[in-house]
């Protein structure tokens, strides 16, 4: 019996074979042959309204499920519209496979209609990419793409397929094994490095567990909890790691970085040992690098060897899966602690008092308008730690990180590295598809929302009932905050006037969603509960909030973490602290 199929059929069969259950995309000329077998496939295809939405939806799906997210688009503009979400996924190490159609191979290089060199364009923002012109190569490329995207440090892989390769006949053969000479991610940590790390931890008097998003990707939260309780060290979770360790846990000092808690930032600064797990010393965490944690030795565990020593020298480098590293570290540490266990009482008395004295907080605006932080805090409190929260980028993102209490991994999604405005709505859509029985809140800004809200149409038509809270301060709020602080309150092009236009409630209604409005503090709980009660339609709530609220604490860009401000022109009262 012959196994002859078209390249397009081979593509769809390969995607099925790779375990794909859903993909997000839009057809067009060059990818059209693939959409014919998609019509018959068991894979659910969700027709989005813009390719950027397909890409972020694939990311949201991947972040929630831990599986590879898949998006599909046509050549030229279809493909270039995927560039932002692919770059976003690369920065946040999200496993994603993007499939794009390409003009017929004979037309490649001729500036043909809807031609773009998407392989060339995405080279710096993919983990790897392919241009396929021979249908025989399709199953192997798809198998490799899923393998590369999901193993090692996860990341996006693009497979660009020429239209004629989709149309020609080929034999369907799934590769029996993947043979990539140049790709062998090391997952098992070196045992000597583990012993060295354990020895350093046993000597440390001021250790901090500096936790990054790698812990969530490695599904290592349980092991982390055990390690943290074994060491008794303070834990800080970066923006990408919120939920990796319960916020309610007594060892948790919160988020470090530009808008981190005073306790978390100071713990890193004053530490003598950073136990760095799946984090990458990002500039938003370190502040001015030469002044970052100057007295600390560094243990750095990461699956990507290129992260070791990139920004900060590692005294002990552990290359491997962070879950395996933690699992190996626990018995090594128990052995060390049998000999001697350091007394962290003094360290905790300092950090504990900072945590008590400088919790993240906010004031209700004097003019009686609604505090944006209050809205976000109430959404978190009412919807609870089992819900998934997806933020855009800006002030509301920082507040959503600060004021929602995360207890579980994969309940907090945001665009951390790339800082992609417009991430929230499509990513929430993907998250809801990945976790249909979970409440998914997009906490979005009025600026972000206006970049990608058209995917609410997709949500409405495809029974994806997400909830969107627009934190409407009628501004590009974070940019406005920088203008307030660093540009003498000259608000150049940051006023969006979105309390006037558009009417978000009408817009929601027009897109097949329920639109709700909230203008007063007293109504906040009631409206949130109203939104919670609607589960058969997407809901959009326009929360009209105080325009001049700012995100605090703040370490200004390029300055030292030592210069953290708890409020405008207010540094922590260091004199009363013995550090």
């Amino acid at each position: 019996m012959s196994n002859q199929v078209t390249g397009a059929q081979a593509l769809v069969k390969s995607l099925e074979h790779a375990g794909v259950d859903v993909m997000f995309g839009i057809p067009g000329g060059a990818i059209l042959p693939a959409y014919d077998p998609i019509y018959d496939s068991k894979i659910r295809h969700i027709l989005v309204r813009h390719e950027q939405g397909a890409g972020h939806a694939a990311t949201g799906y991947a972040q929630v499920t831990g599986r590879v997210g898949v998006c599909i688009a046509t050549s030229g503009p279809g493909a270039t519209n995927l560039v932002t979400p692919i770059g976003d996924a690369a920065m946040d190490s999200v496993p994603m496979v993007a499939i794009t159609g390409q003009v017929p191979s004979a037309a490649i290089g001729t500036d043909a209609f809807q031609e773009a060199d998407i392989r060339g364009i995405t080279m710096p923002i993919t983990k790897h990419n392919y241009l396929i012109t021979n249908p025989d190569d399709i199953p192997r490329a798809i198998a490799e793409a899923f393998h590369i995207a999901s193993t090692g440090r996860p990341g996006p892989v693009l497979v660009d397929i020429a239209k004629d390769a989709l149309q020609k006949m080929t034999e369907l053969k799934w590769p029996s094994k993947i043979n990539l000479a140049g790709y062998n991610p090391k997952t098992k940590p070196d045992s000597q490095a583990i012993r060295d790390a354990a020895a350093l931890i046993a000597q440390s008097r001021k250790p901090v567990l500096y936790i990054g998003g790698g812990v969530i990707k490695a599904n290592a939260s349980k092991q982390l909890l055990k390690l943290a309780e074994l060491t008794g060290a303070p834990v800080v979770t970066t923006l990408m790691a919120r939920g990796a360790f319960p916020d309610s846990h007594q060892l948790h000092l919160g988020m470090p970085g530009m808008h981190g808690t005073v306790a978390a930032v100071t713990a890193l600064q004053k530490s003598d040992l950073l136990i760095t797990l799946g984090a990458r010393f990002d500039d938003r965490v370190t502040g001015k690098l030469s002044t970052f944690a100057v007295n600390a030795k560094i243990i750095h565990a990461d699956i990507d060897p290129a992260e070791i020593g990139k920004n900060r020298f590692a005294d002990v480098a552990i290359v491997g899966d962070v879950g395996e590293a933690i699992t190996a570290l626990i018995p090594a540490l128990e052995a060390e602690f049998k000999k001697s266990k350091p007394d962290l009482t003094q360290w905790w008395s300092q950090m504990g008092s900072l945590r008590a004295k400088y919790p993240v907080g906010y004031d209700h605006p004097a003019d009686g308008s609604v505090s944006p932080q209050y809205v976000i805090e109430r959404i978190g409190a009412i919807s609870g730690p089992d819900s998934i929260y997806v933020a855009g980028v800006g002030q509301h993102q920082m507040w959503a990180s600060q004021f929602v209490k995360y207890e579980k991994p994969r309940t907090w999604l945001n665009s951390g590295g790339a800082g992609t405005m417009g991430y929230a709505v499509p990513a929430a859509m993907g998250a809801k598809v990945g976790a249909p029985d979970t409440t998914v809140w997009a906490i979005d800004g009025d600026g972000c929302f206006q970049m990608t809200n058209q995917e609410l149409v997709t949500c409405a038509l495809n029974n994806i009932p997400i909830k969107v809270a627009i934190i409407n301060n009628e501004s590009l709020g974070m940019v406005r905050q920088w203008q307030t602080l660093f540009y003498n309150s000259r608000y150049s092009n940051t006023s969006l006037e979105s309390k006037r236009i558009p009417d978000f409630v009408k817009l929601a209604d027009a897109m097949g969603c329920v639109g709700l409005r909230c203008d007063t503090t007293g109504d906040v709980d009631k409206v949130i509960k109203e939104a919670m009660a609607i589960n058969d339609q997407p809901v959009v709530v326009d929360f009209s909030v105080f325009r001049d609220a700012m995100v605090w604490p703040m370490v200004a860009a390029g300055t030292s973490n030592d210069d953290i401000m708890v409020a405008r022109e207010t540094a922590p009262d260091w004199d009363s602290q013995e550090l």
Binding site: R119, M123, L131, I148, G182, L289, S290, P305, G309, A317
Partner: protein, 186 residues
């Protein structure tokens, strides 16, 4: 000395040179010269890259290169343990009166005359970079009309091959404490 020579084994696949160039451009690494060609294995090409690393650590460059899926093996070619050569073709002005002297200079550096006209000769030479540079300096007096250089190629001394050495390594970076990224405002 901030100059390093890397020999890089890559899969002989389309776009691999662009990937390497794109990585170097994106990360701000400066390439002094780059030579690419086939190897004993038809599926593998070899790049010899001379890097001028100001402000970047070699181990970081190697680790980033290793992340490219098409990169199979990397080794630094040190002065002591490798043979390094460059090839040169140079077209020199050579009037009748100068021709004797041009040939003499060329011979001194093991150059070979590969083309001649009434007013020029083209010399082919191969050797260590320093010899090539010395040859060019000596030819300057006659007037150099045009020249082309191959970029450095290098091979490790002894019987071991780069394929033997690198096909099993995983690209673990051992970092230099002085190599950390400089301060910047973002």
């Amino acid at each position: 000395m901030a100059t390093h020579t890397l020999s890089v084994l890559v899969e002989n696949s389309p776009g691999v040179l662009a990937r390497v160039a794109s990585l170097f451009s994106r990360r701000g690494y400066n390439i002094d010269s780059l030579a690419v060609g086939p190897t004993e294995n038809s599926e593998i090409s070899r790049m010899t890259i001379v890097l001028n690393l100001e402000g970047h650590a070699l181990d970081q460059v190697i680790a980033q290169l290793f992340k490219l899926v098409n990169v199979i093996g990397i080794s630094e070619m040190t002065e002591a343990d490798s043979i390094k050569r460059e090839a040169l073709l140079v077209k020199v002005k050579a009037k009748k009166s100068d021709r004797e002297k041009v040939l003499e200079v060329s011979k001194k550096f093991n150059g070979v005359i590969v083309d001649e006209t009434d007013d020029s000769v083209t010399i082919e030479a191969t050797g260590p970079s320093a010899d090539i540079e010395a040859l060019l300096n000596s030819l300057e007096q006659f007037g150099i009309k045009e020249l082309v250089q191959s970029g450095l190629i290098a091979l490790e001394r002894g019987s071991i091959t780069l394929a033997d050495r690198t096909l099993s390594t995983s690209g673990v970076a051992i970092s230099d404490p002085n190599s950390a990224t400089a301060d910047y405002q973002n």
